[in-house]
Amino acid sequence: MTTRLGPVDQIPPGEGRTFAVDGDMVAVFRLRDGSLRALSAVCPHKGGPLADGQIDSKVVVCPLHLNAFDLTTGCSLSGLPGLTVYPVGVDDEGHIVIYSEVPA
């Protein structure tokens, strides 16, 4: 099963936006190289909105207390619980797609 979240250009390069996916809040980031990453949207530290954080090609930094998380693995770089990682991609029409399973 997949969930389409609309056109990829609703996320400016290097930024993130939050989407509701199946009752979960998911932060989708569009890296400067064009690739996407999707993680749970809430910082496990104090509930900060991760989509408002700054990113590079590897990590997102929560805007509240600057805790960093690996964009690919969801692992915390400062000893916090990790984030859920969602398989994400772009379909033929340029729409963001969250896969419930990693596509073959």
């Binding site: 250009d9 609703q10 996320i11 400016p12 390069p13 290097g14 930024e15 993130g16 936006r17 939050t18 509701a20 809040m25 932060a27 400067r32 949207a41 809430v42 104090k46 509930g47 900060g48 909105p49 991760l50 989509a51 408002d52 954080g53 700054q54 990113i55 590079d56 090609s57 990590v59 997102v60 930094v61 805007p63 509240l64 207390h65 600057l66 960093a68 400062s78």
Partner: protein
């Protein structure tokens, strides 16, 4: 190819440390070590703790025998090297064995120097019964065993080692007298007054001290019964400990034809003079005429030698060490660095003496730089002074700040004395124990420890304490972090170099800086905000604004709150408002049920708890410019009511405050800039504690103070200039802020930057134009001023898709209480 053979003579701290450094660099050698003591390698500095009974013998070993085995090192303990055959490249041991080498390191250290006092030795028996040196673990063991069965000890030598020995012996017998040939204790490090104060403190501990006392004879036929001094008096005792100094063990080197003066003479690569393959490190080495008896220089030497030998940096050079020591001598804190007394007529000397409390401080300043410091009994300013000494920093105008913390954070405790569970970082709740564990876990840079534990990452006031604890926990092994000098963590350049590179390559966007100046082109999230601010300052309207480089506050022009909502602070120049403005704010707040309306410290009104998606609408309804209460930027000018209404006011502070805010509104910088203008020296607008504060004084003149703060750090600003007109205040303010913007480190507030550069230097540039750059500074500032656009105008057409879309998760979050 066969591994080159590396032989080390000496298994003390220097030899073993050098090997550790070589192994850490992946050095590929077949290593053989000779030590004449029968043990692995131990921390000689801790022997006084063993004597004092606060440390177990097992606790002082650094590398046990398995370390040598694990690293493939052949260790010969209890084996003394008798001769080096330089021509054949072999060493001959006392036991007749011969070992060839390709590279040889001499690390034989030093031994106790025993003055030629009649009675010290008994013919054929070594030391007289009851006489001990204090140098090795065996010395210490024998001394403890003997002292326990006796009552009175005399320690000869009132230096560091003698004091430690005296204090330690008190554990084992009832009466200790310290006899010192010089006029005062620790005469190498302290001046006479400091020595006298130390003496009082030591005497309070129950140690008798006799100075100006040359020992001329050890008395007693079979066992020691006393010592005789030069003036004829005798002191009864049954134990004598000699701690009169150390001498380099250089006999083997000398006998083997190496150049030896007071130690083995070495060059900047620690190579013995004229010998391509022989090196010396530690106390046995003499470099540029100096021999060192402390551990820090030894660490430096070991690194250089390891860099050189492993080829990591064949040109690595040791330039000597600036000696700064902080010790607890017999329970008394003592710190010393550089000169102990003035040497030239124009040297400045500062002395503070409080004998009753055992506190003594003396500083020597030359040409405005610290060249010497001595602290007894109170060493809280040590870290600060050491930095000033080591790096030649500018000193505060008010010299007393060198000796005492005035209006600073609460009294610091020394790192060693703090309890493990004591909270160091009050923002992120990090204890001393956590910091120490991190260091012991192998993280030995201050920044590294701060990154891992988040200590010092809140308000930052604990940084110096974190640094002290890391230094203490690492035991002198703190590693310099090159990143400490970089402007942002992800681009390996200090600010001036970075700015030059940005100009040379014409880099106008943050992504181009990463692509061009970072090896591998890797971007770094934590560097983006600092780079965005720098590029905006440098390029003004030409800056290529990439929104992802901005922190969320700067993307939506509001300050993010703990629950993900934002605060809205409209501009209110100089803190002056009107009934119409107040009404409009009230109506907006009411219409949108703003959870909290609050007056700020900067004389403005804050609407808190505004959801991101509502920001554009609220700005439209307010129809006031942004107050910039969210950025690393010019914030506000606080004013008093000035001459218009106040019966004391001598200058129109409100008008000047409004003019300043009008001109410099929204200017970004390395840190936020808070200003104030006050109408008389009563200072109701708190101008003395602002980044820039202006005070009207009688006669139509204005004083300008810079570098003040009253936040996490409290500091009274330094007087930059006194001028005759508001126009001059406005010009100098712009010039000062521009100088700060161009030169301060990222997030370095003026309260840190001004003392770092020195107010005299800032005055030279900003007021006297000694560098001839005033016009450039003014022009650059004028350009920034001209580039100002009210960011709240972005409401009509968002800068990016979804700029104001909520990122708020739909979960229950801690809410800011509604009052």
């Amino acid at each position: 190819m066969q591994q080159p053979r590396l032989v080390v003579i000496g298994n003390g701290m220097a030899g073993a440390r050098t090997l550790e450094e070589i192994l850490a660099r992946g050095g590929d050698f077949a290593i053989t070590v000779f030590g004449d003591e029968p043990y692995g390698n131990y921390n000689r500095i801790m022997l006084s703790n063993v004597l004092a009974g606060v440390e177990d013998e097992s606790g002082i070993f650094l590398n046990d025998l398995s370390w040598y085995a694990d690293n493939g090192i052949t260790l010969h303990t209890g084996t003394r090297i008798a001769r080096i055959d330089r021509a054949a490249k072999r060493v001959h041991a006392d036991d007749g064995t011969v070992t060839p080498y390709d590279k040889l390191i001499i690390a034989t250290g030093s031994r106790a120097w025993v003055p030629p006092i009649p009675g010290v030795h008994r013919p054929g028996r070594g030391y007289h019964q009851g006489v001990f040196a204090f140098r090795t673990l065996d010395d210490t063991r024998a001394m403890i065993r003997y002292a326990r069965e006796h009552e009175r000890a005399v320690v000869i030598g009132g230096g560091l080692l003698g004091l430690e020995a005296a204090r330690g012996l008190q554990n084992h017998l009832s009466h200790v007298t310290l006899v010192h040939a010089a006029g005062h204790l620790m005469n190498t490090q302290l001046d006479a007054q400091g020595g006298a104060i130390l003496q009082r403190s030591v005497e309070k501990l129950g140690i008798e001290v006799v100075t100006d006392a040359l020992t001329t004879e050890i008395l007693g036929k079979h066992a020691v019964t006393g010592v005789r001094l030069k003036d004829g008096t005798t002191i009864d005792c049954d134990v004598v400990v000699i701690a009169a100094g150390i001498r380099a063990n250089a006999e083997v080197a000398q006998a083997s034809g190496l150049v030896v003066d007071r130690g083995v003479v070495v060059d900047d690569q620690m190579r013995a003079q004229g010998e391509p393959d022989i090196y010396a490190v530690g106390e046995c080495a003499q470099h540029r005429g100096e021999t060192y008896g402390l551990v820090a220089p030894l660490w430096d030497q070991a690194k250089v030698l390891a860099d050189h030998l492993t080829g990591r940096d064949p040109e690595a050079a040791y330039h000597g060490s600036r000696i700064a020591t902080k010790l607890k001598v017999a329970g008394v804190d003592v710190a010393a660095m550089g000169l102990k007394e003035a040497e030239r007529d124009d040297d400045e000397t500062l002395v503070f003496s409080e004998p009753r409390r055992g506190v003594y401080k003396s500083l020597v300043i030359r040409d405005g730089r610290l060249v010497g410091a001595t602290l007894v009994g109170d060493v809280r300013k040590y870290a600060f002074l050491m930095q000033a000494f080591d790096r030649g920093l500018a000193l505060p105008e008010d010299r007393v700040e060198l000796m005492f913390d005035l209006g600073g954070p609460p009294a610091e405790v020394s790192a060693a004395d703090m309890a493990d569970d004591a909270q160091v970082c009050n923002c992120n709740g990090v204890s001393k124990g956590t910091l120490v564990e991190t260091v012991h876990g192998g993280c030995k840079t201050v920044n590294g420890v701060m990154d891992r534990t988040r200590a010092g990452k809140g308000c930052g006031t604990c940084k110096s304490l974190v640094q002290q604890i890391v230094e203490w926990a690492a035991g002198g092994e703190v590693e310099e972090d090159p990143r400490a000098s970089w402007y942002v963590p992800g681009v390996p350049m200090p600010k001036p170099e970075l700015m030059r590179a940005i100009r040379t390559h014409g880099l106008k966007s943050v992504s181009s800086v990463f692509a061009t100046l970072v090896p591998g082109g890797e971007e770094d999230a934590k560097s983006k905000m600092g780079l965005a601010s720098l590029l905006k300052m440098m390029w003004g309207a030409e800056y290529v604004d990439e929104r992802d480089a901005r922190f969320i506050n700067d993307r939506v022009h509001a300050n993010i709150q703990r629950d993900g909502t934002f605060s809205v602070v409209p501009q209110m120049k100089g803190g002056v408002t009107t009934p119409a403005q107040l009404k409009r704010i009230a109506e907006v707040a009411e219409r949108h049920s703003v959870p909290m309306v609050k007056l700020t410290g900067g004389q403005r009104i804050d609407l808190l708890g505004v959801p991101k998606e509502k920001l554009p609408q609220i700005w439209a309804e307010l129809d006031m410019p942004s107050g910039y209460a969210y950025g690393k930027s010019f914030r506000t000018v606080k004013t008093c009511v000035g001459s218009d209404f106040c019966r004391f006011g001598v200058g129109d502070s409100t008008a000047l405050g409004i003019a300043l805010e009008e001109r410099y509104q929204g200017i970004e910088g390395p840190g936020k800039m808070k200003l104030a203008v006050t109408g008389c020296p009563r200072n109701c607008a708190e101008a003395y504690v602002k980044d820039l504060g202006v005070v009207a004084i009688d006669g139509g003149r204005w004083e300008i103070y810079v570098g003040g703060a009253a936040g996490a750090h409290v500091r009274k600003g330094d007087l930059l200039a006194t001028v005759d007109s508001p126009a001059e205040v406005i010009t100098l303010t712009g010039r000062f802020l521009q100088f700060y913007r161009e030169n301060a480190n990222w997030l370095e507030r003026t309260y840190a930057w001004v003392p770092r550069i020195g107010i005299e230097r800032i005055r030279e540039v900003v007021v006297d134009d000694a560098d001839g750059i005033a016009a450039d500074l003014d022009a650059a500032m004028a350009e920034s001023v001209a580039a100002y656009r009210d960011p709240w105008k972005e409401r009509a057409a968002p800068a990016t898709p979804g700029q104001f879309r909520t990122s708020l998760p739909l979960v229950v979050l801690p809410q800011v209480p509604v009052r």
